[in-house]
């Protein structure tokens, strides 16, 4: 299929194709990160994870509307602040949800599935009542639109680069946080042996709440970032949740690096297959590859080596 093109054209296409794989990777990574913390570390099956992403996206939309109305001059910069606000809003709501609901269910993992699914329905209906059934898009600052035109025929979308950088930054901060900070140490200790951690003086209830709200906050950042590539509706969350679980399960639930590797693998496979097959067939082929891989490695790419609690 390539015989009729010049080498230069092909080079450009391969570079752009590589980049589109990378930007899909960053999307999947952002989706999976928060869930890897909540599902992977805490063992809570959070079906409302997608709704927290939607909450982040709606926060950005809300900020955008406010900025347009009261401080149009702030337009070019509001987006960065909005991402921070989305993180805070989602983390706060997450902490509240943990306090009211999740903490009563830690010993009943299957019940968290049902309870958080109920929560997701409540959140969806709340969005519908507050923001209406139609999909909304925040006004994005000019600098996020368009593409870097590296040379004729080679365009790299700016929003893709932005999401990629954001995903890498969040991953880096999270890995540092998990493995270099006191809180990370306490969290890992709690995951490995809750009773023992409690005995040595770790307030496990507080650790749980912080971890859950951190996971929700990261979902908020993901949702905020997705406003640059898609729209937001009351049930956007249910579009994200499948991919998010796919990344986490395929990566091996308890491992941050597994999450990164699985997001990368799925993204590249899908992007390449879509190029040579077509949209739907590419997706089907990707899922087939994942199913076969999971048949041989049911624990995921990087199975957790720690003892369960």
């Amino acid at each position: 299929m390539f015989s009729e093109y010049t080498t230069e054209e092909l080079q450009n296409i391969f570079m752009m194709q590589g980049f589109s794989g990378l930007s899909l990777f960053s999307v999947l990574l952002l989706m999976g990160l928060g869930l890897a913390l909540i599902f992977g570390q805490m063992g809570v099956i959070n079906m409302a994870h997608g709704e927290f992403m939607a909450l982040g996206a709606y926060t950005v939309y809300f900020c955008s509307t406010l900025t347009e109305q009261y401080a149009p001059a702030f337009g070019p910069y509001y987006f960065i602040c909005a991402i921070g606000i989305a993180f805070l809003v989602c983390a706060l709501v997450g902490a509240l949800v943990e306090f009211l609901m999740i903490r009563h269910l830690y010993h009943r993992p299957l019940d968290t599935l049902l309870a958080t699914w109920g929560l997701s329905l409540i959140m969806q209906q709340t969005y519908r009542s507050l923001f209406g059934a139609r999909e909304v898009t925040p006004t994005l600052p000019e600098w996020l639109m368009g593409s870097f035109n590296l040379k004729e025929g080679l365009d790299i979308p700016i929003n893709g680069v932005f999401v990629l950088c954001l995903a890498l930054l969040v991953t880096l901060v999270m890995i540092l946080f998990m493995y270099k900070s006191k809180f990370g140490l306490r969290l890992r200790a709690t995951v490995q042996n809750r009773k023992m951690s409690s005995a040595v003086g770790i307030n496990t209830g507080k650790v749980d709440r912080l971890a859950f709200s951190l996971g929700c906050g990261i979902a908020g950042i993901a949702g905020a970032a997705f406003t640059t590539i898609g729209s937001t509706g009351p049930d956007s969350g249910s579009r994200y949740i499948v991919d998010a679980f796919l990344v986490v399960v395929f990566g091996g639930a308890a491992n941050m690096l597994g999450c990164v590797a699985s997001a990368f693998g799925i993204a590249q496979a899908q992007s390449i297959l879509e190029f040579f097959l077509e949209g739907t067939k590419g997706k089907v082929a990707t899922l087939l590859v994942i199913v076969i891989a999971l048949m041989f490695r049911p624990q995921g790419l990087f199975p957790s080596k720690v003892r369960g609690h």
């Binding site: 054209e9 589109s20 999307v27 139609r134 590539i229 729209s231 579009r239 077509e278 739907t280 997706k283």
Partner: protein, 411 residues
């Protein structure tokens, strides 16, 4: 009611006055008795007639169906304010199909069997219509369906107020091929029956009639948000025209990513059959500016009917509301039903069906429409070019096109 007639009736002015008075008299006269206009036990009383409205107010499709719900309600309010149908005020029972096709069938049955409604305005996706069709045919109900759709269907019990595929596709492709001297086309759609059937028709027309080439045809799952690979392939093949039928949330991602990849209205011709003012709200006018849509209605249409309609819609639902093709088609439903009932002089379904062929509506916002015996509307096809402000500039208007839901040579 008999009025005193002036003795000098022979004079022209007085004759006109008399006619006016007589007309006024007949308005005040009691409406025809219920036993006459309702022989099959529908929910019609001496003062009211009950109809059903069946759309998704919740779930994925709520985004799209909201406009139809609003437009139908507006038409019903206007009809009631003008005296109702055969002197009866319209009462509405609203049911929520919840974007779930079996629910649609259940609710349709409830409306027809327990509520005995006179007619139903509703459905949006083809899947929901296919789900309720057997119910309407079995219970002999009436459905006014507003969405442009793939055709290949005709039922005694359904009036299709949107366009079927050939009305929307053929004239649009002809225009773009002539205007842009287009020879190569890249077809892109969401993966379900409407885009698949539409693209099949488009491909046959491009290859057999226009002698052009289809350089790519792709379908993406509903809800897909990553189009990077597709966009790269488009860049590689450099088609004269991208022909798109991407729907729902995918739409927004598709156009945003096209814009981000440097494919915009100044560099690339793109014609879509799935973007109306409703979708533009989500996509953002700046991402679409310069691209074309083929529809029968645009909010910016410049005619007195439409100006009145847009003003009434905005007065009811707020100045920021927009009106898309399907919303306008939804608005036609109650008016077409009223016209059919009045022509038949009865609410009976069979009499409405008998009165429907060749029914005309001169007050439609899209302009004059006429109902074909095959229950679809004769309508015009228009090409609009999207502007940054989210409105379309209408560049082309066809003659009235005959609906042809079973096109020969296109299947």
């Amino acid at each position: 009611m008999i009025r005193t007639t002036p003795s000098s009736l022979s004079r022209l002015g007085h004759a006109a006055l008399a006619v006016a008075l007589l007309a006024a008299g007949s308005l005040q006269a009691a409406p025809p008795p219920t036993s006459e206009v309702n022989t099959t036990g529908l929910a019609v009383t001496d003062t009211t007639v009950t109809v059903g409205q069946l759309h998704s107010a919740t779930g994925t499709m709520a985004i799209s169906e909201t406009g139809s719900i609003q437009a139908e309600q507006l038409a019903i309010d206007q009809i009631n304010a003008a005296g109702g149908v055969l002197g009866r005020q319209i009462k509405v029972i609203k049911e929520d199909g919840a974007s779930d096709w079996p629910t649609f069938a259940e609710k349709a049955k409830k409306l027809l069997v327990s509520d005995k409604v006179g007619t139903v305005f509703g459905c949006w996706t083809s899947a929901s219509r296919k789900a309720v069709l057997p119910v309407f045919e079995k219970e002999n109900g009436m459905l006014y369906y507003p969405t442009f759709y793939e055709g290949l269907e005709q039922s005694k019990n359904v009036i299709y107020t949107g366009q079927e595929a050939t009305q929307q596709i053929l004239a649009g492709i002809d225009w773009i091929a002539k205007e842009k001297k287009a020879k190569t086309f890249y077809l892109v759609g969401s993966d379900y029956i409407w885009p698949r059937t539409s693209m099949k028709i488009a491909r046959k027309h491009i290859e057999n009639v226009l002698k052009g080439t289809v350089v790519g045809e792709e379908f993406y799952a509903l809800g897909s948000t990553s189009f990077g690979s597709l966009i790269n392939k488009i860049k590689l093949k450099k088609p004269d025209v991208i022909y798109a039928a991407v729907v729902g949330g995918s739409n927004v991602s598709f156009y945003k990513q096209l814009a981000a990849a440097g494919i915009n209205g100044t560099k690339q011709t793109l014609l879509t059959i799935s973007v109306t003012e409703d979708e533009v709200l989500g996509i953002g006018g700046e991402n679409l500016a310069g691209f074309y849509s083929a529809m029968k209605y645009f909010q910016s249409l410049d005619n007195p009917n439409n100006k009145e309609f847009v003003a009434a819609f905005k007065a009811k639902y707020g100045a920021a509301s927009v009106i898309g093709d399907v919303t306008q088609a939804g608005y036609l439903g109650p008016w077409l039903w009223k016209a059919a009932v009045e022509k038949a002089g009865s609410f009976d379904i069979d009499k409405i069906v008998a009165a429907s062929p060749d029914l005309e509506l001169k007050t439609a916002p899209e302009g004059y429409v006429k109902l074909h015996p095959n229950h679809h509307l004769w309508s015009k096809l228009r090409i609009g070019q999207w502007q940054k402000n989210g409105q379309a500039k209408v560049l082309y208007e066809s003659e009235l096109i005959e609906p042809n839901p079973f096109p020969k040579g296109y299947q």
